[in-house]
Symmetry: C2
Subunit: 256 residues, 2 copies
């Protein structure tokens, strides 16, 4: 596997493959910038200002400029950023120039949906294998892929270089699956099971828990309710009364 060629930085001399170590907060925003840039490119924009891109991505323009400055100077003062160039840059930094293979374990309710999610294919990933521990699910075909038994993981890993493992099993099975993924060399795991995984150092785990997101919203909902119940407290922050037909316009809507 030869390293993919660095696509951006056309005339720029200097260290080529050295990845700057970006702040974690910046890394978390780059994908959002990338999505906004793709939209802009589709709608014909060749360049974009930090202001324009920031509002398309839903962030502050100063933050965006600082984020982009961490990957180098790819803007032109007085003009803005070249959309195509920036896309290449961000895709390179995120490691999306190679289409990474994803193994999805657990094809229950959620796993089914993930297997059919077209947002993966369009954004640099390819579901390379579907696995499940339930023999009655093995053999089922989803989106052109046949579900295999999770014990075949070593064979699957031998066939293709699995870059990322996705766990969509019940919580009680998640740790065992994680151990199996680690055992075959997977060092990045996306965990949808509501539990904490313990993994050896060097393995990254990101967790997505749908119920947690709802609970966070519930907190704010609860707080809003308790505030409107006590009008004494001084804030002029919330003016929103329900039913007000208030329609948007606050932020530049995105151009699809």
């Amino acid at each position: 596997m030869s390293q993919h060629r660095h696509p951006g930085a056309p005339g720029r001399a200097g260290a080529v493959p050295a990845l700057p170590d970006l702040p974690e907060a910046t890394v978390a925003r780059l994908p959002e910038y990338l999505r906004a840039l793709h939209n802009l490119a589709e709608s014909g924009h060749e360049t974009v200002s930090s202001e324009g891109l920031a509002s398309a991505a839903g962030v502050n323009s100063a933050k965006l400029r600082k984020d982009l400055s961490h990957l180098g100077s790819y803007g032109t003062r007085g003009v803005g950023y070249d959309v195509a160039l920036l896309v290449d840059q961000i895709e390179y930094v995120l490691g999306l120039t190679q289409r990474r293979a994803v193994a999805l374990v657990g094809v229950g309710n959620l796993g089914h949906a993930l297997a059919g999610y077209d947002g993966f294919a369009g954004r640099g990933f390819r579901i390379a294998a579907l696995l499940d521990a339930d023999p009655s699910r093995v053999g089922e075909e989803i989106n052109g892929l046949v579900v295999r038994h999770v014990d075949e993981l070593p064979r699957v890993a031998a066939e293709e270089a699995i870059a990322i493992g996705v766990i969509a099993t019940p919580a009680r099975a998640a740790q065992a699956v994680a151990d199996q993924l680690v055992a075959v060399g997977v060092t990045s795991i996306l965990n949808f099971a509501p539990c904490v995984l313990s993994v050896p150092e060097g393995v990254d785990v990101r967790k997505v828990d749908l119920a947690i997101e709802l609970q966070i919203l519930s907190f704010h909902e609860h707080r809003k309710a308790s505030l409107t119940a006590l009008p004494a407290t001084g804030g002029s922050a919330l003016t929103a009364l329900p039913g007000g037909l208030a329609v948007t316009d606050t932020q530049e809507a995105i151009g699809t």
Copy 2:
């Protein structure tokens, strides 16, 4: 629908319903503590130390103590925290004492999975309505609920107090759905569509983008690869070689 009685703080005199305004980072962790506490309660623990709860939730014990201290003193020095009491407290703060009604818009691939996700019912939420704009999907029954047309949203909202709207539509439809939700008084939205929503002030939006999570993992994967390719750089950070059957216990998870 009377306000549920504040369950915790049994002997405590003072302001009853006043919600302390917690740091956002703390709020984001409370649901995780809550889940860990439920597990502990099921396995028979009556009390738990900050150390124990912290490791069950995958965080530092000092951080956990500071988080809990924000909601008041509910621990006993030398002993730990009363599990049941803490559960009540956190559920109260998160506003989970009332089972909140959720309207789910978009019953495609992902929406289907969400409609069947049992993690909602078990954690303080109830899917009150399924909606979709596609007439061919209207009428379909999922998990005992019939899909209704999204234009019926005002009627749905009149029937039940919708606390939270979940958007699981394609990106191009998401803004319109958000506007409709806001128009019927929804002030909390969980958005699965890969786009930025603009909403009036006072409305909370949380976004979950599966592809973004993968891209963040991809970045770290890319970085790990570029580091092992350049062994010169001084870090002793990564010692992990694949294939090593290294099992668990480190507890280092990735930060959010």
